[in-house]
């Protein structure tokens, strides 16, 4: 295992984190929040110190880097990123318990949006900014950012592929252009551009700048940390609709935007995943609207709330405009299923991913046909191209790991004695990086009631969900750490 190389990566990543903390520090200074100024200064100093030690210790690393190193590196990076990223919350006294602070920042970086805070509006602005910004950074991935700005050690090496694969969601991650650095740069350029457009649209609706930026961060990373106690419910219908549209946009595979830039409209229009993603969303909105007849005063209002909640849950954002925990069971069942489906591969969203759902359905269909015609040779296709058997195997393995982890976490947090619905939806909401669940963890409530043990289980769930299980799973495998 190439520890030195990993140390260098993590060191560089921490430098990036420290730099990104500066705006939060400036906001705190500007607002004159003394406790958070101190907290940010101390955190930045601490992070820079750790980074310097790592970079100093890990000079002269070799360039041997393989899939195993890539996965371990991503898993470790996110752990360390979160451990140091939660320092401002803890040091400023905004969140007194360390486990709570850790939970909050992991929820931020993994773009979950599950909070342990009951009173948000009273928090210092710098802290609020850092909380929302963690979504933005975690959405596209901090290592992808690192790849975009540095040559990451060996410029001519292909190993950076492992980092992109481990950090970008989806069953079959590929580059957009031959050079990794350019690929990462294109992804971030699109991401930044979309975020800015989002801010502009929010400002047009009369939202104050600070709130618009924070809300856009939450939307872009499909995170869901609000800056109001009632999330988005207090804003005008226009702003709610803008949020709905942008949540959906950030849940689309970014490759589609790149193809649009290249004017390959046909490929985008015919993309099976995009069609499934939009189709499922539209169908769910329709069904929920039908189910909610009479719940709200007008049809327009019903439609708006249905669309917002569907977009929020499906893209795994987790904003809310209404307490959907009060909705009829059928609507809640649809939302729960949407939690599993999740957004598209290659987006900032979480969940099982539409493309995986497609592959699982297709391989299932093949297995059924195989019973009827045992000799029939069948190839699973996606967008007309044959899918490699290895990808199908990986997808099925992913499904199995996904189910086992959900079940295990469900059992573990049940110790706290909440209802079945609460526990199941809490696990689903964390593992799929959504945020709010039902009942005790519903949109008006939060995760503060869970015991520390349950919180740690949920933290691991969030990390596993964001990094697509294997980078976290591999950290707990004995053979990873064996000398080879």
């Amino acid at each position: 295992m190439n520890y030195k190389m990993m140390g260098r990566f993590i060191g560089k990543m921490l430098v990036v984190e420290a730099i990104f903390m500066l705006p939060a520090l400036l906001i705190s200074l500007f607002e004159g929040e003394r406790s958070s100024v101190f907290a940010f200064l101390a955190s930045i100093a601490g992070i820079v110190l750790v980074a310097a030690v790592l970079l100093l210790l890990c000079r002269g690393s070799k360039n041997k880097f393989y899939a195993r190193e890539g996965l371990v590196c991503v898993g470790l990076s996110w752990g360390i990123l979160s451990l140091l990223g939660c320092l401002p919350f803890y040091l400023s006294g905004a969140i007194p318990a360390f486990v709570d602070a850790f939970f909050e920042i992991v929820s931020g970086f993994t773009t979950t949006g599950a909070s342990i805070l009951t009173e948000i509006e009273g928090l210092p602005k710098g802290i609020l900014y850092w909380r929302s910004f963690s979504h933005w950074l975690g959405g596209m991935g901090v290592l992808v950012f690192l790849l975009a700005i540095t040559s990451a050690g060996g410029g001519d090496n292909g190993f950076t592929m492992h980092l992109l694969r481990a950090e970008s969601p989806g069953p079959n991650v590929g580059k957009l252009v031959p050079k990794m650095r350019k690929t990462a740069r294109i992804l971030y350029e699109l991401y930044i551009l979309l975020t800015i457009v989002n801010v502009i649209f929010l400002l047009a609706g009369g939202m104050p700048l600070f709130e618009a930026v924070c809300t856009a961060f939450g939307t872009a990373g499909t995170g869901g940390f609000g800056i109001k106690n009632d999330s988005i419910a207090g804003y005008s219908p226009y702003i709610q609709n803008v949020c709905t549209v942008f949540m959906m946009l950030f849940g689309v595979n970014f490759t589609c935007y790149y193809l649009l830039m290249l004017k390959q409209f046909k490929n985008v229009f015919k993309d099976e995943e995009l069609r499934l993603y939009l189709g499922v969303a539209a169908g769910s909105v329709l069904l929920i609207t039908l189910n909610l007849r009479g719940f709200y005063s007008t049809l327009g209002e019903t439609l708006r709330h249905a669309a917002f909640q569907v977009a929020s849950i499906m893209t795994t954002t987790g904003y809310a405009t209404t307490d959907f925990d009060l909705w009829p069971t059928f609507s809640k069942a649809i939302l729960l299923s949407l939690m599993v489906v999740g957004a598209s591969a290659g987006s900032t969203g979480g969940g099982f991913k539409c493309s995986r759902v497609l592959l699982v359905i297709k391989s299932l269909r093949r297995s059924v046909r195989k019973v009827i015609h045992p000799e029939k040779v069948q190839v699973v296709r996606s967008n007309g191209h044959p899918v490699d058997e290895k990808i199908l195997q990986n997808t099925n393995a992913y499904l199995a790991a996904y189910a086992i982890i959900t079940l295990l976490s469900f059992i573990l947090i049940s110790v706290d004695g909440y209802s079945m619905t609460t526990n199941l939806s809490a696990v689903m909401a964390c593992f799929n990086n959504i945020g709010p669940g039902f009942e005790a963890v519903g949109p008006t409530c939060n995760f503060s009631g869970f015991s520390s043990f349950s919180k740690i289980v949920l933290i691991l769930d969030m990390l596993a969900g964001r990094l697509e299980i294997f980078p976290i799973l591999i950290l707990f495998s004995r053979s990873t750490w064996k000398r080879r």
Binding site: G155, N157, K175, V177, K179, M180, D388
Partner: protein, 452 residues
């Protein structure tokens, strides 16, 4: 610059390594997904799986924006078809095809025009030409020519009898008595840029810049005994053997080819009337003895198996054959071979890849580009030839006043018909040809890149 490489074989992956390291946007096409996956893991490139002559695959690989296509699949016909198709899709595209079937060699120039190819490469023929050059000057392990053949960088192995052994470079002139420059030394697998106090030891491989006409004198003064090659044994009847036998026969050198496959022997005998074709296993010592290995002038091992070539060469060196040349097709790691007495090592893919890299650099930078590029010292150093033109900085200024980059060495200046091994007082003049030796890490793409 966007480059497409079709075919991820020996030459393809070598090119991928070199070109992606130089920072080009590379897309690799191959039919074998396993092969592609391992390439994608090793290099920062994009891969496309499929038949490189198919238009959809070429389109996927981005042929519209590419500037160069290199077709290096196993089949000549596919390479040609691939280049033609791609050129049809994008008329501005430069195309390079590997064509190595001997039956096409005579028509290659006409085919180049007809199919609008920018260049064709033939690794086996290239190897044969290279081997012939080595056989003409026994004593050198490798020869790279510059300035239209007037200057060479030659590789020598220092043995105990060599007069340079245990001599510091400052004291070298009294021994060699001709103008040479030792531009790199390979000791225990690492390349060293020597200074005046450097002492040459036994087992070093030295890389010497010298005028071509002084090579004979150099060998004589160093005490390397050479005699003209009159009889060569070639092991294996491969394509390289065929080209080489033809070249050697033309200059009146006797050739014996040992080949195991009877049908191939008949074919070779038909095509090479002047060569002796022996049907038998070249790895058998009995056959080698019977064919007179102990008193032949040179042994060239050219079978398709690298291991076999190495074993036969070792045996030849043991028997006291004055010059041994080993062809290695797949083997990259020449580091561990340094201590074996394999003689000169010839790698067809490397020769071809050097030619193509030179072409690519010239394309990238039409004026002032390197005219010749060779990798020396097991690829750890690079020797490139440049033409001095009006765009070159510091014309006429002595080198000692200039700040050259670290690890850059001006190895030779050719002015008109004279060659000069430069010292501090040397200067560049328009229309000079200069040879620059670097450690190859930072690309020197034009002459001005050598200045700080």
């Amino acid at each position: 610059m966007k480059i497409i490489v079709a075919g991820d074989g020996k030459l393809g992956s070598m090119l991928t390594r070199q070109l992606s390291a130089e920072g080009y946007d590379l897309t690799l096409i191959d039919a074998n997904p396993k092969q592609l996956e391992s390439s994608e893991e090793r290099f920062d490139i994009m891969v496309v799986q499929g038949n490189c002559a198919s238009m959809t695959v070429l389109e996927q690989a981005g042929v519209d924006e590419a500037e160069l296509l290199i077709a290096a699949t196993g089949a000549d016909e596919i390479n040609l078809l691939c280049c033609m198709t791609a050129h049809g899709m994008n008329p501005r595209l430069h195309t390079i095809a590997r064509v190595r079937n001997p039956e096409y060699t005579d028509q290659i120039y006409r085919m180049r025009d007809m199919f609008a190819l920018s260049m064709t490469v033939n690794p086996e023929k290239q190897a044969a030409v290279e081997i012939e050059r080595l056989l003409k000057y026994p004593g050198f392990l490798k020869r790279d020519t510059f300035a239209k053949g007037r200057v060479e960088i030659v590789e020598l192995r220092i043995d105990a009898k060599n007069r340079l052994c245990n001599v510091a470079l400052n004291d070298m002139n009294s021994i060699v008595k001709c103008k040479i420059l030792i531009c790199a030394v390979l000791r225990n697998g690492t390349a060293i840029a020597p200074d005046g106090n450097f002492v040459i030891q036994e087992g070093d491989r030295i890389f010497v810049t010298a005028a071509a006409k002084e090579l004979t004198l150099l060998l004589k003064n160093l005490g390397v005994i050479t005699h003209k090659v009159k009889r060569v044994i070639l092991c294996g009847g491969s394509r390289v053997s065929f080209y080489l036998a033809k070249l050697l026969n033309r200059s009146g050198i006797g050739v014996q080819i040992i080949e195991r496959n009877p049908e191939k022997c008949v074919q070779l005998a038909a095509m090479l009337p002047e060569a002796d074709i022996i049907q038998g296993d070249a790895s058998s010592q009995f056959i080698l003895e019977r064919e007179g290995i102990s008193n032949c002038d040179a042994l060239v091992t050219l079978t398709g198996l690298d291991e076999l070539n190495m074993i036969i060469s070792l045996y030849g060196a043991e028997c006291g054959v004055p010059q041994v040349i080993t062809k290695l097709g797949r083997f990259d790691n020449t580091n561990i071979l340094g201590n074996l007495s394999l003689g000169s090592i010839i790698s067809p893919k490397e020769l071809c890849s050097n030619i193509i890299v030179r072409y690519v650099r010239a394309m990238k930078n039409q004026t002032g580009a390197a005219q010749t590029v060779y990798k020396i010292a097991d690829g750890q150093a690079e020797a490139a030839e440049f033409l001095v033109d009006e765009g070159t900085r510091y014309l006429g200024k002595p080198l000692k006043e200039l700040h050259l980059k670290k690890n850059v060495l001006v190895a030779c200046i050719t002015r008109g018909a004279t060659q000069e091994i430069p010292n501090g007082d040397s200067y560049f003049e328009k229309n000079d040809t200069v040879i620059i030796v670097t450690n190859g890490k930072k690309g020197i793409y034009q002459l001005n890149d050598i200045f700080e």
